[in-house]
């Protein structure tokens, strides 16, 4: 633990990102908001929690055996991240019904006869009657875990009404509590993460994130769940506003095994592994693909990533070159190797002859970014640029003749794409997007090794920005040395945590953080703690306030 923390903070010291005296996360007031007195609190971020955040939170608050069955609202990817896209989403009417049914089911389970004694910290005087003191304690306790902050008196009182009505009507106190709990679970303060900025005591005319909002931001980044009691206590006491207090919490969170949940959630998002939820492969072309292979491929990439970057604290760039991974019986079949273990998963190292190198050559990336019945150098190339280098590719123009590219019975994809590139409208983008994909062409649309396509030998040489490389292993070397790779991870961690895309105002910050990342030896936990501790990460962006009519009655 000491060494872990040491590593994190050593990195920060090298970067010199903050000194004790200048530690501040305050934001000066925008001109339009400047007024004479101290600022009033402002909500600076309303983000719908994701499915995994919902699941982790419920498991933390009520226990991991609570069944969560619902259709979560679809999420949306922006700037490569669901965390950014979903922060723009609300709840549709049909989604509201789904969440309501889910909330009722969680309340029923949590307050069912089997576990109500454990769930409710107090015993009502008479289980057939309303016990206000006990109900109040229950609402207060679960309210602060779900809202990630203590409830106001009005918020608590509001929940006592359904508790009372429900108890009266049913003659059962716990039925009343169920209603109160359902109401908490349906509240926008639970379904959305609401971040609040308050006046900075050091300079009352500037804003800072309040303690609970900071705790929340940190906890969802590092653990993908609601702040635990200790973190809430640091928010409540104000410790979280001091550099020592913040550092103590970050050390604790990063050192915890639960950091893995946070890292998994982040990489699931960044690597776009949600794509497996609706991945389709043509069974005639790829008979080995089935649900078990899809689930296994996603898990392989997450296991590899977490093992390398979290457990072993290796250089992030090794993700592209390391051949250490994990496989199971299903994946062994796709990789065409024996599975020499009696366990569900086993460590495995791809031999040199496999032509594989790093996560780009795992089934997940290769099958996600391909066609149902074929590979796609363009899709793979576009995704290498987008996911790992933060370089989005524009959509193709609408009037392109794809017939040549799509006639997959002839020659190799490379040949067909070269024809396509004769079209000058396409060349500019394809010259950038395709090379990484062309280097991966020894892997078919499911990620199986091949050297021939339609009787022709597949050429996997590529040329990007004047640098030539050969095959997947050549691409791995190229990417490992490309400075855009770590910079892009920094950008993603930051955007993921703050829930908004980066823009040109963030460039200096990204550059500084990338330098610090480099000094740390490109160690992921250090990077995440370093970003979470940076003033910019905890700095509120004060929005233009809605007009007062926003609060008009319905």
């Amino acid at each position: 633990m000491a060494t872990k923390a040491g590593l994190v903070w050593a990195a920060l010291a090298v970067a010199g990102l903050f000194g004790a005296a200048t530690f501040t996360t305050a934001t000066p007031l925008p001109v339009w908001a400047q007024a004479a007195g101290p600022v009033t609190p402002v909500k600076v971020g309303v983000r719908r929690i994701t499915e995994t955040q919902y699941r982790h939170t419920i498991a933390d608050v009520f226990g991991p055996d609570i069944k969560i069955s619902a259709r979560f609202e679809p999420e949306k990817r922006e700037e490569g991240l669901l965390a950014v896209g979903s922060s723009q989403l609300s709840l549709t009417a049909s989604g509201f019904e789904q969440y309501f049914a889910l909330a009722s089911s969680i309340s029923e389970q949590a307050l069912g006869e089997a576990r109500r004694a454990e769930t409710v910290g107090c015993t009502p005087k008479d289980t057939r009657k309303m016990d206000e003191a006990c109900a109040r304690q229950f609402v207060g306790s679960y309210g602060q875990q779900l809202f990630r902050r203590p409830l106001t008196e009005a918020e608590t009182t509001a929940r006592l009404k359904p508790a009372s009505v429900g108890t009266q009507q049913s003659g059962d106190f716990y039925t009343g509590l169920q209603l109160a709990l359902t109401s908490l679970l349906m509240d926008p303060d639970f379904i959305f993460r609401m971040e609040t900025a308050e006046a900075d005591p050091a300079n009352p005319r500037t804003y800072r994130l309040d303690g609970y909002s900071k705790a929340s931001r940190i906890s969802y980044l590092l653990w993908d769940t609601t702040p635990d009691a200790e973190l809430r206590a640091a928010a409540s006491s104000g410790d979280i506003h001091t550099s020592a207090g913040l550092r103590k919490q970050l050390d604790r969170l990063v050192a915890s095994p639960r950091f893995e949940d946070g890292a998994r959630a982040f990489f699931t998002d960044m690597l776009q592994l949600d794509g497996f939820d609706n991945l389709i492969k043509d069974p005639a072309t790829y008979p080995k693909f089935n649900q078990a292979v899809a689930d296994s491929a996603k898990e392989q990439t997450l296991k590899t990533t977490i093992d390398l970057l979290v457990a072993k604290k290796r250089d992030y760039r090794d993700l592209f070159s390391s051949n250490e991974t994990f496989i199971n019986r299903y994946l062994a079949s796709v990789y065409k190797v024996p599975y020499s273990s009696s366990n569900a998963w086993a460590p495995y190292t791809f031999p040199e002859s496999s032509e594989r190198a790093g996560i780009l050559t795992q089934v997940s990336f290769l099958s996600l970014f391909a066609h149902p019945a074929g590979s796609s150098p363009t899709r793979r190339g576009v995704k290498v640029h987008e996911i790992f280098m933060c370089e989005p590719t524009p959509e193709p123009p609408a009037d392109v003749d794809f017939s040549k590219v799509q006639d997959s019975a002839k020659g190799t994809v490379r040949g067909r794409l070269l024809d396509h590139m004769e079209n000058t409208g396409c060349t500019a983008c394809h010259r950038r997007s395709d090379p990484p994909g062309l280097a991966l062409e020894h892997f078919d649309g499911l990620g199986q090794l091949r050297t021939m396509e339609n009787g022709s030998r597949i050429d996997v040489s590529a040329d990007l920005d004047g640098k030539k490389f050969e095959g997947a292993q050549g691409l791995a070397k190229y990417l490992r040395d490309d400075p855009k790779i770590p910079a892009c991870l920094v950008r993603n961690v930051y955007a993921y945590g703050v829930g908004r895309p980066t823009d040109e105002r963030d460039e200096d910050y990204i550059a500084d953080q990338t330098a610090a990342f480099a000094s740390s030896g490109y160690v992921l936990p250090s990077l995440m703690a370093q970003i979470a501790s940076s003033p910019e990460f905890l700095k509120p962006v004060i929005p233009r306030l809605a007009s007062p009519s926003a609060a008009k009655p319905l």
Partner: protein, 422 residues
């Protein structure tokens, strides 16, 4: 489709890594994806239609009312026994009273000779599939490629039974049991090793058939997926080891062996005496051919009885005593010598296998040698029990007031069968 040839390469690599193993030069491994009695089908289409194998078609549909009348029941009794509205006729287990049609209404399933031989249409064609087991080219069938002396009396006996008749992989009997295997009921793997440099032509080859507890996995088309890994599970009963040679990719026994395999049948046990193999390694990596030998026929008969006599008879158009007499008549081997009782009948199983990885029982290594694992096996378990208990070929209805039997009253008190009864 072209299957993997990667098994051999992987095995080579492994052999190099473990030079200490008293080892073969090459190892190839497969999983059986289909196995069925080798029943040559001589018609163009249809199951019951005439063909060169069965010129009059299959054993015909049976008039069960007449059978019962012949056994001494009144026509009225026989008709009522067959009426679906008769409460003693179980829609699941059939009409138990059908068993009691032997002399003195003995149960013909367990006493088949208590009734005269009702007959079973035999194969009368000359083409058959399998292996020459006795080295005598004068007896037996002519093979598909003109080879003489194919011994397969099992086929001669049962090849016109509609359960077993049909094009390859399409007879209902084969479909039923292979479906079960492919859905995970059992797994058999095949390992071949050789000491020569060329696996296709090698004088010193060993072949092992082993069980695996790892289930067959189906692919996206519902077929058996390629390249899965299976660990050998030592089995006290099911294991078959052969000495063989390869010639142009065909693995052929060099000596007979007494073996036991998991049979795709009701009886589950395929015990083969003087067993031989003839299996072709195909260019796509798959393996196809025959396992032959002399099998004990009494357990085979018992398999059908235990599968519920009334159900087998009604669904498959045979009288079980006829099957018994036919097996007895055509049995062609005695383990005690030519003068002994012919307890065994020549048999061949058609085998299709796909490339797979086969590991030692602990899962740690790919197998590289053929050896017996029987010594390390737990004692054999009883064949998996069905969900109902069969006694003498019948499932007694525990709730019935009257049980089937030699003395059962057949007709209800009011003779008119007006109610299905509850």
């Amino acid at each position: 489709m072209r299957y993997s040839t990667g098994t051999a390469i992987a095995a080579f690599a492994l052999a190099a890594a473990f030079p200490a193993a008293a080892s073969a030069e090459w190892t190839k491994t497969w999983v059986i994806e289909w196995n069925e009695p080798a029943m040559y089908y001589g018609a163009k289409s249809g199951v019951i239609d005439p063909g060169t194998d069965c010129p009059k078609g299959t054993n015909p549909d049976i008039d069960w009312v007449q059978v019962m009348v012949n056994a001494g029941y009144t026509r009225e009794e026989a008709a009522w026994l067959r009426n679906p509205a008769n409460p003693t006729r179980s829609p699941v287990h059939g009409q138990n009273q059908m068993a009691f049609r032997g002399k003195d209404r003995a149960n013909v399933y367990i006493n088949p000779t208590s009734t005269p031989d009702p007959g079973l249409t035999p194969v009368s064609g000359t083409i058959g599939e399998g292996i020459d087991l006795d080295g005598n080219t004068k007896n037996g069938f002519t093979g598909l490629n003109g080879e003489k002396g194919i011994d397969n009396s099992f086929y001669r006996t049962l090849g016109c039974w509609k359960t077993y008749r049909g094009p390859q992989r399409l007879s209902s009997g084969a479909l039923q049991f292979n479906d079960a295997m492919r859905n995970g009921s059992w797994t058999t793997v095949i390992v071949a090793t050789g000491k020569g440099a060329d696996p296709m032509n090698d004088k010193d080859v060993k072949v092992g058939f082993y069980m695996s507890a790892d289930k067959i996995v189906k692919d996206g088309n519902g077929g058996v997926a390629l390249d899965y890994t299976f660990r050998i599970k030592p089995d006290a009963k099911y294991e078959a080891l052969y000495s063989a040679r390869t010639q142009n990719g065909v693995i052929a026994s060099t000596a007979p062996a007494d073996v036991m395999l998991r049979d795709p049948s009701y009886s589950q046990d395929l015990d083969l005496l003087r067993s031989r193999i003839s299996l072709k390694m195909k260019p796509d990596g798959s393996l196809q051919g025959y396992v032959g030998g002399y099998r004990a026929w009494a357990p085979v008969y018992k398999g059908w009885v235990d599968a519920r006599g009334p159900v087998i008879e009604a669904l498959t158009w045979v009288q079980l005593p006829g099957v018994y007499y036919a097996l007895q008549r055509n049995a062609d081997f005695s383990p005690t010598g030519t003068a002994g009782e012919k307890t065994h009948i020549s048999y061949a199983m058609r085998v299709d296998a796909l490339p797979a990885f086969v590991m030692t029982p602990d899962g740690g290594k790919q197998v590289t040698e053929i050896t017996s694992y029987k010594a390390s096996a737990p004692p054999p378990s009883k064949p998996s029990a069905t969900t109902f208990s069969v006694i003498d070929g019948l499932v007694p209805d525990r709730n019935a007031k009257v049980q089937a039997g030699p003395t059962a009253v057949i007709l209800p008190p009011t003779t008119a069968p007006t109610s299905a009864g509850q």
